[in-house]
Symmetry: D2
Subunit: 422 residues, 4 copies
């Protein structure tokens, strides 16, 4: 949730509001259009399938992000707003208990209607009403909710790609979302180095007027021991060494629950690896040794780190280094594949597992109202991932961003970076 905005001087208030409204309107327009662009390569059939309870159909993402604006902005704030369909509130609520009953998540793939075209009409209905809303005088609370809705839709843009990748991977025909592999030709992985930190008190978390989610606040002190963080991500070549060294067959490398997962699931490589190929959004491609390993669970990342004689960083350690890294902003464009590009790889490649479980920062307060269910209620049995992925919209990346998944999840674009004590 956005932090409170400080009111500018009275004289310039209207202009500032106009500029802010203009910016919001453009940002909203862009994000709404980008969602439709992401769905465009997909057939009606593609958009309907749910391949596992954790994932959602493409058309559900398209509808749910519209429901968010309808429920939290249009219905309360736009006079005479007519909801598109009386049952969509039930169908497209994700998990907001305080908003009312909702359709069970594992059954999202059973709902053939509304179809993709009707979902398109729903989106345009909401878009038009949002324009009406933004034509009106806009309170800071409303503006903050619009901004939240934009970032919410960006999250679902990433989920949409994660989820359709899983759908397509379940198809024995191995179809591609779009043709075309990673740009650039494979090269040798560069040798990893260490970025050292002397420890002591550091400040972490979000502060200031720019947007952030409520779970990134308040900014606060953390005490670190001296440590070093790798200056790049773990590569596919390194992961192959781990496999070749029996990494998936040696219980001493694994957390107890991780080893149980290996036994139960038969994991022998990251998700989407088959022999020396990867299933990607461009179909099957050969493994590129220099590119970051992706689609590993926390359990695998933790085992790899132990095998390497290292450990995973805490989220405070990660942030302390990343905040000082000059090279990242704007470096990585939106792409469908992690790359072997130069640079610290803090952003725009793969999410990076940390050893920190996901919990509240000291003094954390959830946002008021139903949107307070956004983050806080998931603060148990999840591990934090930091950075951002190639499929994360570039304007959605932040050094203080806290992503989180259960330790066994693999369908996110999750990789790792090593750390060690000094």
């Amino acid at each position: 949730m956005p932090a409170g905005r400080t009111a500018p001087g009275t004289g310039g208030r209207a202009d500032a509001d106009d500029r802010e409204r203009g910016r919001l309107r453009q940002a909203l327009h862009d994000v709404r259009r980008f969602t439709e662009a992401l769905a465009a390569p997909l057939s009606a059939e593609d958009q309907t399938v749910q391949s596992m309870p954790d994932a959602s159909p493409t058309k559900w993402h398209r509808a749910h992000t519209s429901w968010f604006f309808e429920t939290f902005l249009l219905e309360p704030d736009l006079p005479r707003y007519r909801p598109f369909h009386p049952e969509f509130g039930y169908l497209f609520n994700s998990y907001y208990e305080t908003v009312g009953a909702r359709h069970p998540r594992p059954e999202r793939g059973l709902v053939s209607r509304p179809g993709t075209e009707e979902v398109g009409r729903y989106r345009r209905h909401v878009d038009a009403a949002m324009e009406d809303l933004l034509d009106r005088a806009c309170t800071p609370e409303t503006a903050a909710l619009v901004e939240l809705g934009i970032h919410h839709e960006q999250q679902h843009q990433e989920l949409l790609l994660m989820d359709i990748k899983h759908v397509l991977s379940c198809n024995p025909l191995h179809p591609a979302y779009t043709p075309g592999g990673p740009s650039g030709s494979p090269r040798e992985p560069r040798k990893a180095g260490w970025i050292e930190h002397g420890g002591g008190l550091v400040e972490v978390g979000h502060a200031g007027p720019a947007f952030s989610f409520d779970n990134e606040s308040p900014r606060h002190c953390a005490h670190l021991v001296p440590f070093a963080l790798a200056d790049r991500l773990v590569t596919c070549a390194e992961w192959n060494e781990f496999i070749d060294d029996g990494g998936y067959a040696r219980p001493e490398l694994w957390l107890s629950e991780g080893w149980a997962a290996v036994q139960a699931t038969g994991w022998r490589a990251p998700l989407y690896w088959t022999d020396d190929h990867l299933f990607t959004l461009a179909g099957e491609l050969p493994v590129d040794p220099a590119s970051p390993v992706v689609h590993v669970s926390y359990f695998e990342a933790d085992a790899f780190a132990r095998w390497a004689g290292c450990r995973l960083p805490t989220e405070a350690e990660w942030e302390a280094i990343a905040a000082a890294d000059a090279g990242y902003p704007g470096a990585a464009p939106h792409d469908l594949h992690p790359s072997s590009a130069d640079g610290g790889q803090f952003h725009g490649e793969v999410w990076q597992w940390t050893s920190s479980s996901y919990g509240p920062y000291p003094g954390y307060r959830p946002a008021a109202g139903a949107v307070g269910e956004y983050n806080g209620k998931f603060m148990v049995n999840q591990q934090v991932l930091r950075g951002s992925a190639c499929i994360t919209p570039p304007t959605h990346r932040r050094t203080t961003y806290r992503n989180f998944f259960p330790a066994g999840a693999r369908w996110a674009y999750s990789g790792l970076r090593l750390a060690r004590d000094l």
Copy 2:
């Protein structure tokens, strides 16, 4: 499987073959076109969803019935036949172990591609090749397999409607397959009477040149005790009496396994009943007291019969009476709803549970080759249903027909007719 055909005299052989080929070609054309007509009201999204492991997506039915012709006729018998797609043999094999590996049944709903349009192209590819095949001289074995393929596709026409009904029922919007309820206005159920039989030896099962499945043969003797069979089906009005009398709450009425099912599932009425409404292929409709109850499991049918002081008939009893019933042939057209029409209701309303478990007739021999997997391998833990349903294609109805489902299944158009000892 068709019984062997006796060869006519040499002189008329060619003409007879021509007539037979013409008949087959027309029947094939009609059945293929009718499948597409059944799918026509459904969107691409509708045709993709699988709502439970026992059911299949519409487009799977459309493809699988084509695969049957491709696999058992075109590939072995049509020179230079080019299969439409090298992986469709894997994707659209239902359960023929001897034909090769196959895609797991519970995952049919995960396959968004091929889409509905490509499946349409697959069907037309197979249709054209089948015309080529039937242009050539046709052995009796080939003709028999074409006929089997026609009847196989008719079975899937019924399954397609059963399955899409289940899909649509899972949608909180309760959409209709097609608008329009049962023809005719509700009327009072007529009083049921009894058709008596003196018992003794009867002959049951199929004999003669007309088509039948292998499980209907050989025709054989069965010894019956004197009994009576109801002259109509159990109605919704009667089922409501059962409910009102605590039928779903009295363990003494139920088989042990049936009672466990009631406890585990919370059954309180037939499938698709909600209060006094039914979910139908035309959407939600009020219960018609005079129409046959439908979508009950064997467990429920058995409990109802016990409650009524009667029992279910054996399949031999059912056949002994139905074979003597003059009124049935041609009486009931294909429809989407059972009716409260006059007549014995042996056909064209709902399938009728019998107390007979599904097993081989004395001297039963499965058909040779892969199509021998058609029937025999399911002969355990299934109950036989007799008659036919409103959604059964009229040319697919036979007095000797043996349908079968597990005792807990409810998504077929299954009802019941009472019997008692004399």
Copy 3:
């Protein structure tokens, strides 16, 4: 349930009653003592364990058989009878819905108290009260219930041995119930022959004054086709041939549901076979080639028969031949192991799967009252086994006896005998 007894002439009534009471008292005494003898080799710990939901702890069998007499005889018929413990009616009811609520079957192994000694006191309490009951004038109904209770306890004697065998087999130490293997030294299996039958109408089922369960009646006609039945059981040597010929790896030999069971469970041999050893009640013993194979499921028996080019007999076929077999009565003593003895092996070796599903005979009526739940409510999804096993008490064996288990069950002493059409 016992058939009604015809009243003898008035003069001899009292004497007949006395003789009958004396016989019952002795039979009851014998059966109660034998149960305790079967439990005697088992420790308190052994008697407490439940190794799967289908099986029960030894002390539960000891208590439940006492509860049967307490519930159906002592409470209704013995004035001033004081139940041993107010909660035992809840704890030791097996499945009689009409008698009241009961402890869930899968939780029988959680009940450490009452302990084995208290169960012993419970048994003696019931025994003493039963003596009181039998001292009084005894109606035919009461006598019939006592007889039923005796046969009920005999069934549990067999279950007790089946269940403790399963418990001990789960122990990595492979402990023995009692030491000592089968009597006699291994010999060559004798060559099997065929007993032919010309078919036609036969009478099957129980009639007459001797005891039988209600499911064996009424005696009725069945029409058979000409067939032959093997004159001995299938042996371990033959089963090894089936294994060596890939029997467990060839789907074409199996019912569809059976093949699914093979895939899901990894069956590669009968239950309790490990390499060339069997786990028995005497611990691990080498496989005896000539002894009947035992602990196979219906699915396996059916697949074996298909592999052998034969089929399983129907229960009517089995009974038609077994009733004519002169040699069996009294031949086989109670033993813990099937043998390779001479003779037709209809009784006293292993139960023999038939192709008949378990259902009611024409005109079947369950016994009146709660004991009517004894047999009829299980008449679905079970296959009939005929004959009797080495662990079946000799006085519990009957040609008309109908045992039944689900098609996947293997912990009963179940084997098979082949049949074929003539």
Copy 4:
């Protein structure tokens, strides 16, 4: 794991060793005898039952604690030691992957043999050999392992009581472990106060020569915000207010996963509450309003804290206050029930959930060898509990002790203490 011990001066070395050996010998003798005393009220049947996969039979605890000494001390360090039974290493290994294969945990209740008496002989065999071992010169490593084994057995003493309570609670007869309720008569709960802390850097974790587990080290800095900690535990009276206020029916109070647990399990009160009674080791007792609530999951504790407008403390907060609390040491004797005694209730009542997930301290190193599997491999998806319970042996209590359970576990003696920001 014990910290390294500093060697005293050469002159006194032998004496110091003798004193240390004497202390160890006595401590070992005491702990081994106390385990047997805890098992003494239990029958052979009681000691055999496993009521859920997470719990273990009493006789397993008795054997496993002996296996620990046998495996980590006697086999490597005592010349000519003869293991009691060659298979016990397989049967009684809990989770040490590096020691070899082991019997699956959920099947511990299937093993009737060895019986309780044989387990007693096993214990005495190990006890005698341990005396031999301690008669010999003892390296610091050996002494450290003996001490670890003593503390390991103390942990299992608590588990033994937790587990047998669960076993007895599953019995519809509600039997008592021992008669006799909590000492003292119920009184009014005293009003709770707050202990304030100004925040800033604190040191937490174990340091010094006394025993601790490896997960309590190293001692390190943590930065705290100003906070207050309640000066007593949450009581049953307060929990009843939570229930009466709809605490179990209001999703907004719960973590998402917690609410799912409530829906799935039907939780409406702490484990072992029935109406206004508790099932205890003394059988059913009325709820004492002033005594600490116990047997609540982390999810419930967290929801209660939110309902109360507070939060749970972090483990660093808890330790910072508890370390300064003068009153605790030696205050609470070993007992079977939490009490409403005066004092801070940091120890000897119930374990106290913290908001900290269980992870490694900065610089954490697992102990070398197989005993390194003791703690570290569980560091994911667990919440830390601090303090100790009435059933924790008094010499096993430490301010730096870190207990841990999954967020849904309720069979431990787990309660809570509130915290809030200042």
